[in-house]
């Protein structure tokens, strides 16, 4: 008997894919087109076809900002995963009630907006309250002053922002892992303290690389934390793009910078994927 094909789920999937493609592709095309226009301080842009906006990227300022964006995003992503993975391992070994408590806590953090998180950290790192005062109180800092804005404060903000996301991405796989693999390593002579490095890290290597790359891309686009907690010299390309497009009303330059950053990000991701594949093979 002929099997009747089921088109329903495919149609729904196709429609969803179409909507996503439209919402991604149309703004992208618009951004690419605008990046070739003439800047016009009076009206954002004049329709034209010039390479001038792309030429500006290769000035030392934008070049440095791009490198700094890549560096802070990469560092942030590595720090987030380096902190989240051990915590998720720890949580997954707790009892059901405690696991549920941690998941709810992480989900609550995700519910907070970036602005609220930024303000919370501003207060915590301010001179009049929070961490500096605490350090003074315990006698570790005689002359406390505000810890923000600074590169360190910005990195703390970025890590905090990504922490709950990475933890919740990693949790299902970590919680479902076959724990007898760790026990097998111990029976084969691995000291329990070394099981993390010898077995767990290598076992989850692919997932960890994948989530690090995801976080890298996510942190590249973060706007509020660098603005609130970083100094102007720490600002990432996202802040500069926004500054140029909205502050200076130079939409073509903002669009050109965004296109270049998109290309750089794609190159970094492809290179990372190729390197990972080669290592796995």
């Amino acid at each position: 008997m002929m099997r009747t094909p089921t088109y329903g789920p495919r149609l729904i999937g196709g429609a969803a894919f179409g909507v996503m493609a439209i919402f991604f592709v149309i703004p992208l095309i618009f951004m690419i087109v605008v990046s070739f226009y003439q800047p016009d301080p009076m009206g954002f842009y004049k329709v034209d076809f010039v390479w001038e906006n792309y030429g500006k990227f290769f000035s030392s300022f934008y070049y440095t900002v791009s490198l700094r964006s890549l560096y802070s995003s990469a560092l942030g992503a590595v720090l987030v995963v380096a902190l989240a993975f051990p915590l998720v391992l720890f949580v997954s070994d707790l009892g059901r009630k405690w696991q549920l408590f941690w998941i709810i806590l992480l989900l609550s953090l995700m519910c907070l907006s970036e602005v609220i998180m930024g303000f919370a950290w501003l207060i915590l790192m301010s001179e009049s309250a929070g961490i500096p005062r605490l350090l003074e109180w315990v006698g570790l800092w005689d002359n406390p002053r505000s810890l923000s804005p600074s590169f360190g404060a910005m990195m703390i903000g970025l890590v905090f922002l990504g922490f709950s996301i990475v933890s919740l991405i990693l949790y299902p796989a970590v919680a479902r892992r076959d724990r007898s693999i760790e026990e097998a390593a111990i029976t084969l002579g691995t000291p329990p303290a070394m099981v993390f490095y010898k077995v767990l890290l290598p076992t989850f290597r692919t997932s960890l690389i994948s989530v690090t790359l995801t976080m890298f891309v996510y942190l590249l686009g973060v706007f509020v934390m660098p603005t609130m907690l970083g100094r102007p010299q720490d600002w990432t390309m996202t802040v500069i793009i926004s500054d140029k497009a909205l502050g200076d009303a130079n939409l073509p330059l903002g669009a050109a910078l965004a296109v270049v950053m998109l290309i750089v990000t794609v190159i970094v991701l492809i290179a990372s994927a190729l390197l990972t594949q080669r290592r796995t093979a």
Binding site: E183, A184, I186, G189
Partner: protein, 321 residues
């Protein structure tokens, strides 16, 4: 001296007593099976021997050495887990070489040993293959080779064949028995399958509710179960209550059916042919008897027919009350 001696071992998880005063001695080169249903304590006992759990009371001696204070990674035991627990990020050869490399053995020796072990388990030439590319039986062999790589003093296996189909399970049982016999390694094998235990073990330890019901050779266990639990667990036994006397156990294959005669009589409820074997259920009063024979060797009866049951007294035995 026994290779592995367990004295008065007790283990509880919270209020649940998993093991209650277990004592058993395993001779050097002996293959014992811990047999029992779910929750009887067999896996807990194996994990205590491995050092993956810590016992509450009692002693575990390996070659005369008390293991109580010896952590798992220093016990020199080889263990095959129910899930096999192969390292997914390593190739077949690297899985087998893992323990040897950890001990700092020379690279040439490791390569030589990996080749020897893979040859022993029938996986020659597969050392560079990822474990994810192996069949179920091949994965079993890798787990066995890896566990034996460090020449352990005792070889522990926790229901390793439970996920295999019947044919492959039989094949792996033969392989394990051959390897164990060739190496002469003391082996403790956990299973809930009485057929598997019968096929493999020099001695079977039947466990129930955290206690040992009987430890005996497969032949003795089958012929003379010491308790009602063992009698029922080892195979379907007809246990007949008697007034003022201990109950009597008769195995299904020891019962003969006659159209007429002296002895209990009842009605055939069901007959089923299982390959060469014919099994029958006969209702006598309020008890169901099980009878089996090689098909075609006895008289034929119809379902619902009334028959008389008979057996030799020498083939029946009294169970403790």
């Amino acid at each position: 001296m026994a290779a592995l001696t367990i004295n008065n071992l007790r283990k509880s998880f919270g209020t649940f007593a998993a093991l209650k005063d277990i004592s058993v001695a395993v001779e050097d080169g002996e293959f014992i099976c811990l047999l029992g249903g779910s929750g009887c304590g067999k896996t807990t006992l194996l994990r205590l021997i491995a050092g993956l759990e810590v016992h509450d009371e009692g002693d575990i001696l390996l070659g005369g050495r008390d293991l109580t204070e010896v952590p798992c990674h220093k016990r020199n035991i080889g263990m095959v887990f129910q899930s096999l627990a192969l390292f997914p990020h390593l190739s077949v050869g690297d899985n087998v070489a893992y323990g040897m490399r950890l001990r700092g053995m020379a690279a040439a020796t490791v390569t030589q040993e990996v080749t020897r072990l893979l040859d022993m388990v029938g996986l020659s030439g597969l050392d560079s293959r990822p474990v994810s590319a192996l069949s179920g039986g091949q994965r079993q062999r890798v787990a066995i080779a890896r566990a034996l790589a460090l020449k352990p003093e005792v070889f522990l296996m926790d229901e390793p064949f439970s996920a295999l189909d019947a044919a492959l399970r039989d094949q792996m049982q033969e392989e394990v028995k051959r390897i164990q016999r060739d190496l002469g390694i003391t082996t403790v094998f956990v299973t809930h399958d009485q057929r598997e235990a019968m096929a493999l073990a020099d001695r079977i330890v039947v466990m129930n509710g955290g206690k040992i019901e009987q430890a005996a050779s497969p032949e003795e266990l089958y012929a003379r179960p010491a308790t009602r639990f063992v009698a029922e667990f080892i195979g379907i036994n007809n246990i007949i209550a008697r007034n003022g006397q201990p109950p009597l156990a008769v195995r299904p294959e020891m019962i003969r059916l006659q159209a007429q005669g002296n002895g209990p009589s009842g009605q055939i409820l069901r007959q089923r042919r299982l390959g060469a074997l014919l099994e029958r259920e006969i209702r006598v009063g309020d008890q169901t008897f099980f009878q089996s024979e090689i098909a075609g060797t006895g008289a034929g009866f119809d379902d619902g027919q009334t028959v008389t049951l008979a057996w030799d007294d020498a083939q029946a035995w009294a169970l403790p009350q």
